[in-house]
């Protein structure tokens, strides 16, 4: 790499281009363009719906260990959906804000991606086991040993397969943020 190479690159970058481009309407559908916003709104709706259903059914539910599991799971999921909904809408707002400086855009983007990695970690290490543990109460399979064996194997396989890539991704993003802040 020398000055001659850079001159070649400069010439290539400055070559005539753009005059033959026409401007047309975006190819992407409205749904695709606003998918983050839509999923954020759905999450918020679920976050409101779950506690409402729980409160309505509360009087009829006997406080057995199974039902307590269901209640715990519903509360956790509603809380998760609320947080997820708010962050997704914030992400949608920031993602389309292209007028900020390049450095600021990169930092915001890196933090957003880090948030999504944390979200997957919460699913893998917390919500998935809670879901698997409370799921039998919906089907009356709480005493089924077969269920627990299959569920444990499936969860352990998922845990081993996804934990490492997620951890690596988190480290990489943290490094990226650190480099950007330097």
């Amino acid at each position: 790499m020398n000055d001659m190479d850079l001159t070649l690159l400069k010439q290539d970058i400055k070559a005539e281009m753009g005059s033959d481009f026409s401007i047309s309407l975006p190819k992407k559908s409205w749904l695709k363009q606003h998918r983050n916003g839509i999923s954020g709104i759905i999450c918020l709706a679920v976050a409101v719906l779950l506690p409402t259903l729980l409160v309505l059914q509360m009087k009829q539910i006997a406080l057995t260990p199974y039902n307590l599991g269901v209640i715990t799971f519903t509360v956790v999921l509603a809380w998760y959906c609320l947080v997820k909904g708010i962050f997704t809408l914030l992400f949608q707002a920031k993602e389309t804000e292209f007028g900020t400086s390049v450095h600021q855009y990169l930092i915001t983007n890196a933090y957003n991606r880090l948030y999504f990695v944390y979200e997957r970690m919460v699913w893998l290490w917390f919500l998935a086991p809670v879901l698997l543990a409370t799921f039998p109460s919906f089907l009356g399979l709480y005493d089924s040993i077969t269920y627990w064996i299959i569920a444990s194997i499936v969860y352990l396989v998922a845990l081993v397969s996804f934990s490492r890539p997620l951890w690596r991704k988190m480290k990489q993003l943290k490094k990226e943020i650190h480099q950007l802040n330097k």
Partner: protein
């Protein structure tokens, strides 16, 4: 003149500027098309135009560069997330027996190995922007621009010697 007419005039004035940014990013990544990038940038310039009009402190060229570079970064990241096989072979330094076009292509592949911020910085440097202008577009200090450009040059030199 209506807002729309003003915007179209602005777009026409900056067509060359936007086109060269698209060319730069499309040359580095074969999955990106310069025409699609141009469309995406035009669309996002139009979307953020009302915000720009309300901000007299920001220069027009700075705003165009910021939007264009941020859109290209966002698009190249989206393409990175999709699984694809790179068409080009791994670059192992610049060979001397290549044509000018091949040499340029190899340089683009070397730049592709830099991170997103460095890619944007080196583009602005190659586009003969002053350190002050680069600092405004990037949102970093003028002295930091100088330091980063030196670092990138060194990094590219090391990559080309590998």
């Amino acid at each position: 003149m209506t807002n729309e007419q003003q915007f179209l005039e602005l777009l026409n004035e900056n067509r060359q500027r936007i086109g060269s940014i698209c060319r730069y990013y499309a040359s580095m990544d074969t999955c990106l098309s310069a025409e699609d990038l141009f469309q995406e940038i035009s669309l996002n310039l139009w979307r953020s135009y009302p915000k720009f009009v309300k901000r007299p402190d920001c220069q027009l060229s700075t705003w165009v560069y910021r939007v264009a570079l941020n859109v290209c970064i966002s698009q190249s990241r989206k393409k990175d997330n999709q699984t694809h096989q790179p068409i080009n072979e791994e670059v192992t330094g610049l060979s001397e027996n290549t044509t000018e076009q091949e040499q340029v292509q190899q340089l683009y592949q070397l730049i592709q190995k830099l991170n997103q911020e460095e890619q944007a910085l080196i583009y602005l440097y190659l586009d003969d922007k002053s350190h002050k202008e680069i600092a405004d577009i990037m949102g970093i200090s003028v002295s930091n621009v100088g330091t980063k450009i030196q670092r990138i040059k060194l990094k590219l030199k090391q990559l080309s010697n590998e």
